[in-house]
């Protein structure tokens, strides 16, 4: 009981109290918990991120830092809950009788930061902006097979899909699908790259590229008392040691992606460390249209040469789960369990010689500096592949050079991807012939057909069957090698409350965060 009357009470001591014994918890009962959970207004949250923001324009976002900035400044129609369900954001409800024609009903009285009310006009203009090929939004292929978007009345948006598509609400939660005022989209669209106007919980105050972005509380935010914080600062730390030190010395409050090799030190210093399983994965990407990876057996051989347990231990200190080249993790609704892919050097060597691969040929592999797991996976794979006579030359490049020159272009590199909202979104992002980021250029007709079948299907059991076949194809033909899935590891000061990591790793719900 005293625990909760103490002003210096923290989340950490609270957790310790919980662990101390069930009796204490029973004694405290509901009033105690309610007190502990009553959020407090005010304060500045400083969150450090490792990746740089290339643009503030939400329609062009590709990385975590950008997603976070987008979520702070803008709202979408739909959010994705931590259980991967579609939940209301600007749309308070949605319905469809045939999964072809969808109606999204907007909240009334929500205002943009320029004072204008959010109406169906703005939502329709925003969806059209994402769909417009000229916008070049990664969201274009990911928000669903939309054929038309119209205003039904001031607060209702009608979306029609090309075929029955049951994943539309989840797909609309794609992080690029943010709502902007119509007049900004049709007028000064270029200003979104450096300024912006949304209806999100925070407003942009200052943006210094490569250094930080500062946001002020949006007092007109539609969701009750939220947000609780007065100010959010996103600090950009490309160097993970410096980032950890900033947390240790109190210069930041939350390291979004904590450096696993320093967790012990953080825990010692009283920092809270959390771990959440996710479908985030690094992948060894094979350009299937370029030699030597045109031959499936070469891809299979390299994937078979990898000792995955060793890779997981060395790259992540075990903070993850082993994958078997199937990019679908157990968190997804239609996960299909396939046999573990064990290291098999004999079989790998046999496949290589069948493929006529010249032993000792050197293949350059491109590695971006962040996150560090790319480089580590490169080193482990290099040593494993050397055992079957594949020489890999590691080419380290900085992240922006990687994005500009090698990503989606080179035939051999380490990719790194977030979990998606559903299997369909994942396949449409990376693996189908018309994927937004068709980096493997695998272009498998049978796979495309199966994905199309699944998304048109309304019966979940038939969807399950089609997606299972998809996963078997990926497992068999290995357009990319998925060695393991990462756990999301966050570290924050004990005064920070309300941080929950979403397995999809795009929604950070900072509007729920408060400081004690």
């Amino acid at each position: 009981m005293y625990l909760f009357e103490n002003n210096r009470f923290s989340r950490r001591t609270f957790l310790k109290g919980m662990a101390a014994g069930a009796a204490a918890v029973t004694l405290c009962g509901v009033p105690g918990l309610a007190l502990a959970n009553a959020p407090k207004r005010g304060g500045t949250l400083r969150v450090s991120v490792s990746r740089e923001l290339k643009s503030l324009n939400p329609y062009r976002h590709v990385n975590l830092s950008e997603y976070m900035q987008g979520e702070l400044m803008y709202s979408g129609l739909v959010k994705l809950s931590h259980e991967l369900k579609a939940v209301p954001d600007l749309a308070e409800s949605w319905e469809s009788s045939d999964a072809v024609t969808w109606r999204f009903r907007l909240r009334k009285g929500v205002r943009f930061q320029n004072g204008k009310e959010v109406t169906a006009d703005d939502a329709v203009a925003s969806i059209r902006k994402v769909l417009d090929p000229e916008t070049a939004s990664p969201g274009r292929k990911n928000i669903g097979p939309i054929t038309s978007v119209d205003v039904e009345d001031k607060y209702t948006v009608r979306v029609v899909t090309a075929y029955p598509f049951s994943f539309l609400p989840q797909s609309m939660a794609y992080p690029c699908m943010k709502i902007c005022p119509k007049e900004v989209l049709e007028g000064d669209y270029a200003s979104l790259a450096t300024k912006g106007c949304g209806s999100g919980p925070f407003k942009l105050r200052e943006y210094v590229p490569g250094t930080h972005v500062i946001f002020d509380r949006n007092p007109d935010y539609f969701d009750g008392d939220k947000p609780y914080l007065d100010e959010v600062q996103m600090l950009i730390f490309p160097d993970s040691v410096a980032e950890t030190n900033a947390l240790l010395t109190g210069q930041s409050d939350w390291v979004l992606e904590a450096n696993i090799s320093q967790l012990a030190k953080l825990k010692e210093a009283g920092i809270v460390v959390t771990r959440t399983g996710s479908g985030q994965f690094p992948s060894v990407v094979y350009g299937c249209d370029m030699k030597p990876f045109t031959d499936m057996r070469v891809r299979q051989a390299i994937s078979l040469s990898l000792d995955r347990q060793m890779a997981l231990d060395m790259c992540l200190e075990g903070f993850g789960r082993i994958g078997n080249d199937n990019p679908v993790s157990p968190e997804y609704p239609f996960y299909h369990q396939l046999p573990e892919r064990k290291q098999d050097l004999d079989k790998a060597a046999r496949l290589l010689s069948e493929a006529g691969f010249r032993s000792g040929s050197t293949i350059p592999m491109y590695i971006a500096a962040v996150p560090a797991v790319r480089g580590k996976l490169g080193i482990v794979l290099q040593q494993c592949a050397a055992q079957i006579g594949v020489k890999i030359r590691l080419q380290h490049v900085d992240y922006s050079t990687f994005l500009d020159q090698y990503w989606k272009k080179a035939n051999f590199y380490v990719g790194f991807y977030n979990m998606q909202s559903c299997e369909d979104a994942l396949f449409q992002l990376l693996y189908t012939s018309d994927a937004s980021w068709n980096e493997t250029r695998w272009n498998n007709k049978k796979f495309d057909q199966l994905v199309l079948q699944a998304r048109q299907q309304l019966d979940p059991e038939k969807q399950r069957k089609a997606f299972a076949d998809c996963q078997e194809l990926l497992y068999e033909e290995v357009p990319s090698c998925v060695p393991f899935f990462l756990d999301l590891v966050s570290a924050y000061q004990s005064k920070v409350n309300g941080i929950v990591r979403n397995p999809r790793n795009t929604f950070f719900t900072i509007e729920n965060v408060w400081l004690s």
């Binding site: 060793m310 060395m314 080419q395 900085d398």
Partner: protein, 281 residues
């Protein structure tokens, strides 16, 4: 035999040269025979022995991939000395020629060349090297190119001032009067009489080059992992500074040892080759 005896008796009178040349010889031997000295494969991963403390099997312990640190340090000698000596050679040859030509020609050509060198020198060396490497991409050859470009101006200046001392001498005038070609005067008459300061400058330079190369690798712009390289080892061990602090200490000791060895040798050579000292030999 008498030649070797002269070298030894000279070295005995200059302790820093003595110590320097012994240490540098040790380094050269280690570099040449590195694969025979290293007890383990410096690239071999060993999942069961990560972060092992120093033992008989692993004298300096193992790193985050379970690789033997001692073997990596030994092999790293090759990378460091290789870069250090190649850059110094490039600088001495290119810088020497530029400086001698500039000094000998004098007048406008001299102005032009020296101002160009001044411009190169105006950039901080490591920044300039970083710039070059981010343009060319990271590889050992590019590291050598980048550090050489930053190092040439200094050698050129030394060579030029040394050349100015000799230029007015009568034997040069005599060569000119004989109608010798410019390149002949430069290489046969000038060079042998102006070469000592260039040698001294070069021997001191090796240490600096090794330091610069390590800094570049540390920043991820020099040699690429998993090449055993001291700067690179520090760079990757930094992440584990709390777990395994000794991982950083070993390569630092190696760099310090090498730099000091070459500086001692350079200082010694300077003393020996000082014209005022030469008369006493």
């Amino acid at each position: 035999m008498s030649c070797i005896r002269t070298v030894f008796s000279t070295l005995r009178r200059y302790p820093s040269a003595m110590v320097g040349s012994v240490l540098v010889s040790i380094l050269l031997i280690v570099a040449i025979f590195a694969p025979f000295i290293a007890p383990h494969d410096p690239l071999k991963l060993n999942p069961r022995e990560r972060f092992a403390p120093p033992s008989v099997e692993h004298v300096m312990g193992t790193d985050e991939y379970g690789r033997d640190v001692f073997s990596r340090i030994i092999l790293g000698t090759r990378t460091s000395l290789g870069i250090g000596l190649s850059v110094t050679l490039v600088c001495a040859v290119a810088g020497g020629l530029i400086g001698l030509t500039s000094g000998y020609l004098g007048g406008r050509a001299d102005e032009l060349i020296m101002r160009a060198m001044d411009i190169l020198m105006a950039f901080p060396g490591i920044l300039f090297a970083l710039l070059i490497l981010s343009m060319l991409g990271s590889s050992i050859v590019n590291v050598i190119v980048a550090i050489s470009i930053t190092g040439i101006p200094k050698t050129a200046r030394v060579a030029r001032s040394s050349c100015l001392n000799v230029r007015g001498e009568e034997f040069i005038e005599a060569a000119k009067a004989r109608g010798e070609r410019t390149w002949y005067i430069l290489l046969v008459e000038l060079l042998p009489n102006a070469v000592q300061p260039i040698i001294v400058e070069a021997s001191i330079k090796v240490g600096f080059v090794i330091l610069t190369a390590s800094s570049l690798s540390f920043l991820g712009l020099g040699t690429q992992p998993p090449t055993p390289d001291w700067g690179l080892i520090i760079g990757s061990a930094r992440e584990y500074i709390f777990e395994a602090p000794m991982l950083i200490v070993w390569p630092i000791l190696a760099i310090a040892f090498t730099t000091i060895s070459f500086n001692l040798l350079g200082d010694g050579l300077r003393d020996i080759l000082d014209p005022r000292e030469l008369g006493r030999v």
